[in-house]
Every structure is written in structure tokens, then in C-alpha cells.
């Protein structure tokens, strides 16, 4: 199994320095992605999903500190990379698609100029003509009509859905081992969300690219991914194969999330999870979910639970499963 691992994050801790204190946002995150695997990260807003993936590309904001943890990409520690190595990681290894395609495209340069610039640094030493051909091909692959003309267009001349397709084309214009898509459809019309997601899935499957898909929709994760990480307040609380997670959810937070999906049948009023994400300046000492958990035990607010194995690769960070399984991390 070891050589098929592409990304291996261990005990990643990220803090943000802010005026008057420190926000301890990521608290020992573990995550691993195999080659060709499609991994989902699910969690409510503010739980640290974007922080996690930005750390992988080393594009965290300036006020972020990483006091602990390792991020291995193809066997090398990303957090120790410098100069050339980092440039290769970003130019050739990993690509990221941002949440808001309008903000992710420069308003005063054409689509063609922007894609070609990306290709240029992904394939140093090429010719402008080749870059152009690759850009046009990438736009075509992203099911964009009339790519030649699109090259001369500015972002404001396109619809939101087309802009996100352009961003996806940009990310996959050259071969990548990993695509990170950070809520790629939240800012789009409901009617085109599905098309864009299908495009992402088709492209990564065709190219054999691994995928980390961030979403706060369990439904999207279910359709798009092989493996799901459920994240809460800077920790991974549960991880399982997608089918297993939906058949057999274990963590009280996951259960809460599943209950808050509106059900078409049954007609019952959906209930969310009471309370909100803890204050990162003073996080709870034990399990970060304990204050909101209706099944909390005394130990929960004292000690942080490790990830316990629940069998078949299903792991859960909850003291209620401590007896059943053995700690794996």
C-alpha cells in the first residue's frame, strides 16, 4: 500500500496569529490520498478545510504558523521544500481550483493569456505555439464551446459556470498528479453545479489524477468520491470508504450532518446540530465536539480522542469507540 500513497498528512497543526492572540485552527490533522483516488473533505463552514489544502500547496496566509506536522507528497516533505522543488510541486504536481471562479481569474487579462502563463511554468522550455495549442485543447476538454474564440475573451464576458470550467481547464491543461477542488460549485447556479462536478469527475478519471474535493454537502461527496473525511473544528473526526460512511456512520457529528440533509420522504422536520464551532482562541481541552455532543461522556471534555479503528479502514475519533477498536493514531 505504501508506494501507492500520494499524499500523507500527519498531525498537521496550523495556527493563525491574529491581533491579541492565536487561533489554534488545525489540531493534528491526518489525511492520506492514494494515487488515482477521489477523496472528499466534508465539514461545516470554518472547520479548516481550506486551511488544510492551502497547507499542501504552501499557500497559507502570511499570519499562519505550522508548529507541527508533516505533509508528504510523493515521498517528500512539502513543508521542507524550497525554491526549485516547491516550484515543481506547484507547477507540475498539484493544481487547485478555487471556490469563486470570478475571483480566481484576473479581470484584465484574456483567458488565453492566463492559461498560457500557467502552462508556460508547468512546462518550462516550450514554445508559445505549443502553449497555445495545449490551452485550446484544455478548453475543449472542459466542454467549452468555441475554444479559439474563448482564448481572446475576458472573464467578465463569460458566465459563472463557464468561468469555473475555464479554471478547471487551467488546472488540468498539463498533467497533474493531484487536483484539489475547494468547493468548486458553491458559487454557481444550482442548475450547473451538477454539470461542473461531472466534468471534474470525468477529467480526473480520464487522466488518472487524484482528487481532493472539498464540500460541505454530504450528497456531493457521496456522488463524487471513494473516500470521505469528515472534519470538525480543525480535526478529522471520521474517515471511511464513501459507501461505508453512509451505511454505517459512527461519529455523533457525522450522524448530525446526515440528519440535517433534507429528506424527501418521511416529511419530518430536519434538525441541525445545536450550537456552533468552538472559539479557536480557546478551544475545548478534550474532544472539540464535546460541547455540542448529545452523547458526551466525562472523558470527552478532558482528553482528546485518538482515531480508533472501527474495521475495514473505517476510523473514528470518538471515545465511545475506544473500547471496540484499538487506537491507530
Amino acid at each position: 500500500m505504501e508506494d501507492s500513497t500520494l499524499v500523507e498528512i500527519k498531525n498537521l497543526t496550523v495556527w493563525y496569529r491574529v491581533y491579541g492572540g492565536l487561533l489554534r485552527v488545525l489540531d493534528g490533522v491526518n489525511l492520506s490520498v492514494a494515487r488515482g483516488q477521489k477523496v472528499g473533505i466534508v465539514g461545516e463552514t470554518g472547520c479548516g478545510k481550506t486551511t488544510t489544502v492551502k497547507a499542501i500547496l504552501r499557500i497559507l496566509p502570511k499570519n499562519a504558523v505550522v508548529p507541527e506536522g508533516t505533509i508528504m507528497f510523493q515521498g517528500r516533505n512539502v513543508l521542507k521544500m524550497r525554491g526549485r522543488e516547491l516550484q515543481e510541486l506547484r507547477g507540475q504536481g498539484i493544481a487547485m481550483v478555487f471556490q469563486d471562479p470570478t475571483a480566481a481569474l484576473n479581470p484584465v487579462f484574456t483567458i488565453g493569456q492566463q492559461i498560457m502563463e500557467v502552462i508556460k511554468y508547468a512546462r518550462p522550455g516550450g514554445k508559445a505555439k505549443e502553449w497555445r495549442e495545449m490551452a485550446v485543447r484544455a478548453l475543449k476538454e472542459a466542454a467549452l464551446p468555441d475554444p479559439e474564440r474563448l482564448m481572446e475573451n475576458y472573464p467578465f464576458q463569460l458566465s459563472g459556470g463557464m468561468r469555473q470550467r475555464v479554471c478547471i481547464a487551467m488546472a488540468l491543461a498539463t498533467a497533474r498528479t493531484l487536483l484539489i477542488a475547494d468547493e468548486p460549485t458553491t458559487n454557481l447556479d444550482v442548475t450547473i453545479q451538477d454539470q461542473v462536478l461531472r466534468l471534474v469527475r470525468r477529467l480526473v478519471e480520464e487522466k488518472g489524477t487524484s482528487l481532493i474535493l472539498i464540500t460541505h454537502s454530504l450528497g456531493v461527496a457521496r456522488e463524487m468520491t471513494d473516500l470521505v473525511y469528515v472534519m470538525y473544528a480543525g480535526t478529522m473526526v471520521e474517515v471511511a470508504q464513501t459507501d461505508e460512511l453512509f451505511d454505517n456512520p459512527l461519529h455523533p457529528y457525522t450522524l448530525g450532518l446526515l440528519q440535517s440533509i433534507p429528506k424527501l420522504t418521511g416529511g419530518g422536520v430536519t434538525q441541525g446540530i445545536a450550537g456552533r464551532i468552538p472559539d479557536y482562541a480557546n478551544p475545548p481541552p478534550g474532544c472539540r465536539f464535546a460541547p455540542r455532543c448529545d452523547q458526551a461522556m466525562p472523558i470527552c471534555s478532558e482528553r482528546k480522542p485518538a482515531l480508533f479503528d472501527a474495521g475495514g479502514g473505517h476510523q473514528v475519533a470518538c471515545w465511545r469507540f475506544a473500547a471496540g477498536g484499538e487506537a491507530v493514531a
Binding site: N106, V108, V118, Y121
Partner: protein, 343 residues
């Protein structure tokens, strides 16, 4: 909509503005109290002489006829005679305008290049000692009127550290080129008088810098803040994430959108240069159009006043068109939609 149609619309609009301006200045110059002919000839001149001057200048005719005659002349490049210099106003303007244009152009250059450069450097090293120094100097530059800088420069370079000339346009001892364009530097180059070119350039530095400082400081601050704002945008982060070197992102992809507000504000600053040029010309004893214009106003020299203001109006309009063109080049949203958004 292409750049061509954008230009045509812009030009038509400018013509309208100029037509309005011509009516306005014609009226203002004439309804201000005081009889121009009497003022020109002095209190002791006999009434018949004043009356004949009035007739010569059409001052005895109704206003709308006067305007018609004036406008007809204007379109032929004839602005009437100055009551003060007794020469055609056009000749006066041809003599004084190039000197001022030379200062203003040079100032505009210093303002644009200096302001953008300082802004980019401050934004690249935010809150460094460099940024802090620029910030303090910029605030000083913005709050200090240009004639104060002029006086300070004359003090420093006239008395304490005389490395640059502080008076006039050219040293007496330097052979001047023949007047062809009226732009000393240009004429010197055309006629191969390199000594005059060098000396003229040295004379230009202090007045231009004194004039430019305020606008330069402002341009630096605006460039810095819009660059900083754009640095925080996702597209900047995306380029970093794609391994594009920061200098490329900063110098090309961030600078272009960031210059839009700088250039827009600079249009006003360049216009203000002409206004401020008067005191600066006075301090440096530099022969320019501003001094001529003020003298015309104090003496109610109607033709000269209208002429100078009209020429200024044309220049302002020209500057605005150029600035709009630059903005349209920088911002495709303006060029292609004709709307004006910035960002």
C-alpha cells in the same frame, strides 16, 4: 465595441465640453465689472481714444455678436489682440505656452514614473522601513503645496548646495537654439545644441520636481493600496499556486489592474499641474503661460484671458482623452462595454 468607437464617442463628448467652455469663459471674461478698454489705456487717456479701441475690439456690439465674432476668429486660430502686450494673443501664447508645457510634461513624467515605482516598492515590502519612509514622505508631499517645495528648493539649491540652477530656463552664457517648436529641449536636439539641451534639462529639474511631488506622493499611495488589495485576491494566490514566479505575478498580472485607479486620479493631478505651475514659475522666475494668464486677469485683458483659458481647456480635454485611452487599454471592461468599473 472596439477601441475605435470608444474613441469617436469620447471625442464627440469632448467637443461638446469645449463648446460649453467657450461660451462660459467668453461670458465670464466680459461680465466681470470694469471697462477693459479704459483699463488698457489708463485713466488719463481721452474718451475718444477709449471709444475707438472699444470699436476696434467690437466691445460696443451686443454680446451675442461679440461671441459670434470671437468664435469665428477662434476657429481660424485668431484669438484677438491682447490689450496689454498689443500683440495677437496667439503669438503670446505661442511664446509662453511651450515653456510651461515643457515643465508640466516633465513633471507628469516624474509624477507617473516616480509614483508608480515608489508604490510598487512599498507594496512589495509592506511595513518595512522603506515603506514607512515613503509613507511619511508621501503624506508630507500631499499636504505641502508645490510653491512651498519651490521655495525650499530655491533655498537649498540656491544658497546651501548649489548643484542645480534655480533661476530661468537657460544660462545666459549658453548659446540658445533657434526657436522652432518653442520647446527648448526639443529645439536644442533638433539644432544639435547639446550644451543647451543639458543646461535646459538642469533648469527643468527643480521646478518640475517641486510641481510633481504632490501628485507623485498621491500616485505612490494609490498604487500601493490598490496593489496590496489585488495581492489579496484569489487570482494572485492562484498564480502562486501554479508556480508562477512572484515577480511575474506582481509586475504583470497585478500591476495592470492596480494602475487603473492610479491613472484615473493622475488625470486630475496633471490638470492641477498647470494651475500650480504659476507660483512655481514665479519662484523660479521661469517664463511660462501661467504668469501671462495671471497678468491678463489682473488687467482684465479680455482676449488674453479667454484665449489662455480656451487653450488650457483644449489641453485638459486632450489630457483627459489620453488618460481615458490608457484606462481603456488597461481595463477591457471599459473598452468593451463602455461602462466604468474599476478593480
Amino acid at each position: 465595441m472596439g477601441l475605435g468607437r470608444f474613441m469617436v464617442r469620447r471625442l464627440a463628448l469632448s467637443l461638446l465640453v469645449l463648446a460649453g467652455l467657450s461660451i462660459l469663459i467668453f461670458l465670464i471674461a466680459r461680465v466681470v465689472p470694469g471697462d477693459p478698454a479704459r483699463l488698457a489705456l489708463g485713466p488719463r487717456a481721452p474718451e475718444w481714444a477709449v471709444q475707438s479701441l472699444r470699436e476696434e475690439m467690437n466691445l460696443d456690439k451686443p454680446l451675442h455678436v461679440q461671441y459670434y465674432l470671437w468664435l469665428r476668429g477662434l476657429l481660424r486660430g485668431d484669438l484677438g489682440k491682447s490689450l496689454l502686450t498689443r500683440r495677437p494673443v496667439m503669438d503670446d501664447i505661442k511664446e509662453f505656452l511651450p515653456a510651461t508645457c515643457e515643465i508640466v510634461l516633465f513633471s507628469a513624467l516624474v509624477m507617473a514614473v516616480g509614483g508608480i515605482l515608489l508604490g510598487v516598492l512599498s507594496a512589495s515590502y509592506p511595513n518595512s522601513w522603506f515603506d514607512n519612509v515613503v509613507r511619511v514622505v508621501a503624506y508630507l508631499g500631499i499636504v505641502t503645496p508645490s510653491f512651498v517645495w519651490a521655495v525650499i528648493f530655491v533655498l537649498i539649491f540656491g544658497y546651501i548646495w548649489p548643484i542645480l540652477p534655480v533661476i530661468g530656463r537657460l544660462e545666459m552664457t549658453v548659446e540658445a537654439p533657434p526657436v522652432f517648436t518653442g520647446f527648448l529641449l526639443l529645439d536644442s536636439l533638433i539644432f544639435g545644441k547639446y550644451e543647451a539641451f543639458w543646461d535646459g534639462l538642469r533648469h527643468l529639474i527643480l521646478p518640475s520636481v517641486a510641481l510633481a511631488l504632490g501628485g507623485m506622493a498621491q500616485a505612490a499611495r494609490i498604487t500601493r493600496s490598490s496593489l496590496m488589495e489585488n495581492m489579496g485576491k484569489d487570482y494572485a494566490l492562484a498564480q502562486v499556486a501554479y508556480g508562477i514566479p512572484w515577480r511575474v505575478t506582481l509586475g504583470k498580472y497585478l500591476l495592470k489592474p492596480s494602475l487603473i485607479p492610479t491613472v484615473s486620479v493622475m488625470a486630475l493631478d496633471i490638470a492641477a499641474l498647470f494651475a500650480n505651475a504659476f507660483l512655481v514659475e514665479l519662484v523660479f522666475n521661469y517664463p511660462g503661460i501661467s504668469g501671462y494668464g495671471i497678468r491678463a486677469m489682473l488687467n482684465k485683458d479680455v482676449n488674453a484671458i479667454s484665449g489662455v483659458i480656451m487653450v488650457m481647456g483644449v489641453i485638459f480635454t486632450g489630457v483627459n482623452i489620453i488618460v481615458d485611452l490608457v484606462v481603456a487599454y488597461l481595463d477591457p471592461r471599459v473598452r468593451l462595454v463602455g461602462g466604468s468599473q474599476s478593480g
